[in-house]
Amino acid sequence: MKKILVVDDAGTVRMYHKKILEDVGFEVDEAVNGLEALEKALINDYDLYIVDINMPKLDGYSFVKKLRSSESVRQSPVIMVTTEAEEKDMHKAYENGANFYIVKPVNPDELIKVCKLFLGETYE
């Protein structure tokens, strides 16, 4: 069972993502901001991170940055999710070491497809 950490300060979004991903058989854990996500990443072994950009305490960019400069945490892929479909935001995400970029609102099928690719699950 692949384990995903969904990081978003909006409960509605977390619930939405969790539901979509659990329905196709992934295990989903939640964090409400980048800081909590880092704390959880230290303890648990996640196969994938789905991270919102705009968050209190520690935003998505900073989360990836910190994750990618840590030597003790497993370096799993990071998918950024944001409402901003701006070229510059995308670049910023990739610069900080994120591996993908999805624009909100997320289309369930799209999210599932991408997650399957990222986690090596059979792709239809």
């Binding site: 409960g11 705009n54 840590s70 990739y94 289309n107 369930p108 599932i112 699950e121 792709y123």
Partner: protein, 873 residues
């Protein structure tokens, strides 16, 4: 509402809106970059959440608010109370929309309009976009809408005959194009006629239109705005269509449809025998490519079956496809299988063998991005970061290859990884395997908004079970608060209420057993058991009450805003102090407080606090003070509204009341100050001759009183001229279960709320005196008025005296006044669940409602105040 995601959205949005308005007000006091960021973030999140649903006008408005905030954040606009007002107004509209969505699933037309207007206004006033950019933005949003379509189009809306027509064309080498056409709202003014235009689309197969906005009331519809979308199926060449739509290209989206999307049977799946023989025969004929035999078998069976059947529909499709054998062989096979399983045909075959070597678009996109990520990582100084990013990227590539089951590439990649794992070699590998021709411009696809209650695909959020597990329903906030749907608590409340009543049956049964059978042993057991049950029920009731308790802050928190807005309007300077907002009381009580409090605070602002000049002249501090205070007092919650304004003059009030005919001349002379102040609660009494715009028109303090009475609370006034006024509301902490005294009068039983029963006494008939036709008696050196209950209730029976010649009198305390009610006898007290009257019976104000007793009988509960004052005494 059965959509947990929508419920979650509503709960969360309300929290956000509350925080937003708090921050806006805080920012007015002092600008703070941290708060500004926080504000921006919350508005942004709220906008993001709204985008999950189909509330475009709300999203638009929030977007405008967010842009405005962004200008402030960047420093290109300075925060002012004007901006605060705009934001607050915008949030008010959103708040109304949220309420409407909760009530009916969608915002009303009027709030949609005001949201649109507000968004437009914000854009026009602050966000001066050049016309070019405006059109770009528009194009972008149009594009978004179109992309959404790909995911939501349901081909089953196209009737079979049209799908067949399209498939026939396709089999003859044509392409099938689905056109989505969104005419502009203003298109009528441009001389366009979308309907006519659509009907003349070249090679039109089928079209339909639908409204893109809900029109709750056709009479309110703006007929000059086009709100129709069209979906059109055509087999014309793309070039031809592009030419045809050239003036509205920004409003159309062409999607090429694969023929397999259209081939599926439709109809009644129940009925008609399925001939195993036919399926086997058909498969054999197909294998042997015996077209004639297959056609005969299908035609024969089709003649035998009713045309509405799913089965028949599948046969018709096969018949159509037979004409194009052999290339349609796979389709026919899928249809035969569909007949067998009675499900949608599955087209598992590859259309073209060439496709097999092609890599899926998504895969290519992911790999391309990994290349970008590596190129950026290459520039990083820090080795750890470089290595980490590389690790993540190789992980992604390996998984993606595994995912698309491309073993060849996967093995290749693994070899590369083992031999020379560095950024450059991986980039090179990607370049080798995916030459640029493969690379399409990155597109960002956008989700279809979740339609209210019917999300897009079958993977929806509304199929979360009706009762989501706690984990789902709970929102993890920092304080680990569990948010529970109110309806669930109300249900608990009702159940415990029923339990409390049901347990009362036991003592009644015990008595019955005793009276009828005289068995005493079991009586003791029943009574002991009853006391256990009683204790559990009471504890449980307490616990549930605790759950329903909410802090008054939920009501108080609206006041800073209210006072701010009103004092601005009135041009008065006021300082609002809130105390004890953590005080808790039952949800219903708290909610009921809201309106009276608004009224009181408005009154204080409007009539209490003097103008600037007036205060200075009186030597008072020029800024007025209003204190909103909450505290517990025994089993009541006490709310005080205190102002240091001009106060009220009892004499003036008395004279006014006399002039209005509220009191008689005699009362005018006798009334003490306290009684005089209480006159303000009299309906139709208003201290201002001309009621100002703010305090409501002709609505006086009686509104407050009515609200408080409804909850069996009380209201008191204290006022000193030129020093201020204090109004205190006292309400019971909760009101689910009430304690009543049961009295008997005229052979009927009634309940009187224990809150209002001061004591029960026996009064000898000799000690009842009549003055001016009114009965009184002296009780502990006080003269109290007496009434016969039977008279008050029109029961034509005299009251019963006991053998000592005494009447049973219930002494009631009504708003501080003691009044005696003569009854026949007392029957102790009981816990009851008060069910207020509904419908016509609600006019019977002398009773506040009914209760079911343990023995199943119905008890009428008297409303003491109405009993005494409502019947003209």
């Amino acid at each position: 509402m059965s959509n947990p995601l929508l419920e979650q959205f509503i709960i969360e949005s309300r929290d956000f809106l509350q925080t937003i308005s708090e921050i806006i007000i805080k920012l007015e006091e002092k600008e703070d970059a941290g708060l500004l960021n926080e504000l921006f973030r919350i508005v942004h999140t709220l906008k993001g959440n709204s985008g999950l649903f189909d509330f475009p006008s709300m999203t638009k408005l929030l977007h405008a608010a967010e842009d405005l905030m962004n200008l402030v954040r960047e420093g290109s606009l300075s925060y002012s109370s004007h901006i605060a007002d705009i934001l607050l107004e915008a949030m008010d509209i959103v708040s109304i929309m949220i309420d409407e969505i909760e009530a009916s699933g969608s915002p009303s037309l009027s709030s949609v309009q005001s949201a649109e207007e507000k968004a437009k206004k914000i854009k026009e006033s602050f966000l001066k976009t050049s016309p070019k950019k405006e059109s770009e933005i528009k194009e972008k949003s149009e594009k978004k809408e179109h992309i959404q379509l790909e995911h939501v189009f349901d081909f089953s809306v196209i009737p079979e005959e049209f799908r067949m027509k399209a498939v026939k064309e396709a089999l003859n080498g044509k392409k099938i194009i689905l056109i989505h056409y969104t005419p502009e709202a203003e298109c009528f003014y441009k001389g366009e006629d979308p309907f006519y235009f659509v009907r003349n689309v070249p090679d039109l197969i089928w079209a339909r239109y639908y409204l893109r906005e809900e029109v709750p009331d056709p009479s309110l519809m703006d007929i000059y705005r086009c709100i129709t979308d069209f979906e059109i199926l055509s087999t014309a060449e793309k070039e031809e269509l592009t030419e045809y739509f050239k003036y509205v290209l920004d409003q159309v989206k062409f999607i090429e449809i694969d023929v397999t999307s259209l081939i599926f049977p439709q109809g009644d799946k129940n009925g008609g025998p399925v001939y195993e023989d036919f399926i086997n025969d058909a498969k054999t004929y197909l294998k042997e490519e015996n077209t004639i035999a297959l056609k005969n078998a299908v035609t024969t069976l089709l003649e035998l079956s009713s045309s509405e059947l799913y089965f028949a529909s599948a046969l018709r499709w096969i018949l159509l496809l037979i004409e194009h054998l052999p290339e349609t062989k796979d389709y026919i096979e899928a249809l035969i299988e569909a007949i067998k399983t009675m499900s949608m045909p599955v087209f598992t075959f590859k259309e073209k063998t060439a496709k097999e070597t092609e890599l899926p678009d998504d895969f290519i996109k992911v790999i391309k991005i990994q290349k970008k990520v590596l190129e950026k990582a290459r520039l990083r100084e820090d080795r750890i970061i470089r290595d980490n990013i590389l690790k993540a990227v190789t992980d992604v590539i390996e998984n993606a290859l595994f995912s698309i089951k491309n073993t060849k590439l996967l093995n290749e990649f693994k070899t590369i990884k083992q031999s020379q794992e560095n950024i450059d070699s991986i980039i090179k590998w990607i370049d080798d395997k995916l030459p640029e021709s493969h690379y399409q411009k990155e597109t960002i696809s956008i989700a279809p908004p979740l339609k209210k209650e019917q999300p897009p695909a079958d993977r929806t959020t509304s199929d979360v079970s009706e009762a989501p597990s706690q984990k789902e329903a709970a929102v993890a906030v920092s304080t680990k608060v569990l948010k529970v749907d109110e309806a669930k608590i109300d249900r608990l409340m009702n159940l415990i209420g029923e339990l409390v009543v049901a347990k009362n049956t036991l003592p009644y049964l015990a008595r019955k057993v005793e009276d009828l059978y005289g068995i005493t042993e079991i009586i003791k057991d029943i009574k002991a058991y009853y006391s256990v049950l009683n204790r559990i029920a009471e504890d449980m009731q307490d616990a549930i009450m605790q759950v329903r308790m909410i802090p008054v802050s939920l009501v108080f928190q609206r006041f800073p805003r209210l006072v701010r807005d009103l004092s601005k309007k009135l041009n008065k300077k006021v300082n609002l102090i809130i105390e004890g907002e953590e005080t808790e009381a039952d949800k219903n009580v708290i909610e009921a407080l809201s309106d009276p409090l608004i009224h009181l605070v408005r009154n204080s602002l409007d009539h209490g606090i003097e103008s600037h000049e007036e205060r200075t002249a009186k030597g008072k501090p020029e800024i007025g003070t209003i204190i909103l205070r909450a505290k517990h007092e025994a089993d009541h919650v006490l709310i005080e509204v205190i102002d240091d304004g001009k106060g009220m003059d009892p004499e003036e009030i008395k004279i006014r009341a006399y002039k209005k005919g509220i009191i008689s001349e005699e009362e005018l002379e006798k009334m003490n100050d306290e009684e005089a102040l209480n006159l303000i609660f009299h309906p139709g009494f208003s201290t201002k001759e001309i009621s100002s715009e703010l305090s409501g028109i002709g609505v006086g303090m009686d509104v407050v009183k009515t609200a408080v009475d409804k909850f069996r609370g009380s209201v008191k006034v204290k006022s000193v001229k030129n020093q201020g006024t204090t109004i205190s509301l006292s309400l019971p902490l909760s009101m689910a279960v009430s304690h009543v005294m049961i009295i008997e009068s005229g052979e009927r039983r009634f309940g009187i709320p224990m809150d209002s029963v001061a004591e029960t006494v026996r009064v000898h008939k000799e000690r009842i005196h009549t003055f001016k036709g009114k009965m009184t008696t002296v009780l502990r050196d006080r003269v109290i008025p007496l009434f016969y209950l039977n008279k008050l209730l029109d029961i034509e029976k005299p009251h019963i005296l006991n053998e000592d010649g005494e009447y049973a009198v219930a002494v009631l305390n009504i708003a501080g006044q003691l009044t005696g009610i003569i009854v026949d006898r007392f029957h102790g007290t009981a816990d009851i669940i008060l069910k207020p009257f509904t419908g016509y019976m609600a006019n019977l104000r002398v009773f506040s409602g009914t209760a079911i007793m343990g023995d199943g009988s119905v008890l009428l509960i008297i409303n003491p105040e109405e009993l005494i004052h409502g019947s003209g005494n």
